[in-house]
């Protein structure tokens, strides 16, 4: 599967991102629990892109190393950015009526989690989940 990019501009797009991530996770032969974790993380991050980033995109791609396969999802927005990433990753931290589990919770559900953000320049979050 080549990389597929979906816009995130509304509620329905969050559902579409979940479905595309699920399809990629099945194709990469992730276990059911790992599929569920990745799709849940994608749902949290897509909602962040929408509510905090003012919309953006998700790019879903199957990746492989020499020994295993996985799925990478990149969330990108051109929103206000996150001034203090460490604080935003803390459980309980919340800005826009969330439960404060979005970012930190999503990080726990994936194998690699990378976030690049600066005030005024938007946010890019990259996550990877590998098949075991």
């Amino acid at each position: 599967m080549t990389a597929q990019e979906l816009p995130i501009a509304g509620d329905a797009d969050v559902v579409r991102v979940r479905q595309l991530v699920r399809t990629a996770a099945v194709a990469a032969r992730l276990s059911l629990v790992d599929q569920t974790k990745l799709v849940t993380a994608a749902s949290e991050l897509a909602r962040n892109t929408l509510t905090h980033g003012g919309g953006g995109s998700a790019t879903v791609e199957q990746v492989s190393s020499t020994i295993k396969a996985g799925v990478r999802v990149v969330f990108h927005d051109k929103g206000p950015g996150i001034p203090d990433i460490a604080l935003a990753l803390t459980d309980g931290y919340t800005s826009a009526n969330g439960m404060g589990l979005g970012l930190g919770g999503a990080k726990r559900l994936v194998d690699t989690f990378d976030i690049v953000s600066s005030p005024g320049e938007g946010t890019t979050v990259t996550v990877v989940k590998w098949a075991r």
Binding site: V15, T36, G98
Partner: protein, 117 residues
């Protein structure tokens, strides 16, 4: 937008979520359910999530909110049918759904509530 049906069975209400939830659908359900509890005088609400392949923090918060609203309106809520992979993911995400009663399936959930009603 899809609307989730609410069925009345005796003095219980049954909500079976069969669609991939959009945030707006969830908010509408909270309102519909509150009105239905008052209109029917229901003593309990069973929410069946068998068909949900994920529960994220938004949906988890919705379940907690519905349970709180119901309690204030003198009805008890039981969430039933959670898939094993969903349960594992929820706990790792940091949501333990404290304060929400759960049962493995609709039948057990209804039995749990009937004891009270």
């Amino acid at each position: 937008m899809e609307r989730i049906p609410i069925l009345k069975i005796g003095n219980l209400l049954l909500v079976s979520i069969q669609v991939d939830l959009q945030d707006r659908t969830v908010i509408t359900l909270e309102e519909d359910l509150a009105e239905k509890i008052v209109a029917t005088g229901a003593r309990g609400v069973v929410i069946d999530i068998t068909a949900l392949d994920i529960v994220d923090s938004f949906t988890g918060r919705m379940l907690a909110t519905i349970a709180s609203i119901s309690r204030v309106l003198d009805a008890e809520t039981v969430v039933v049918g959670m898939r094993p992979a969903v349960a594992i993911t929820l706990v790792e995400l940091g949501l333990s759904l404290e304060g929400i009663k759960t049962a493995l399936d609709v039948e057990r959930g209804m039995r749990l509530l009937s004891a009270r009603a």
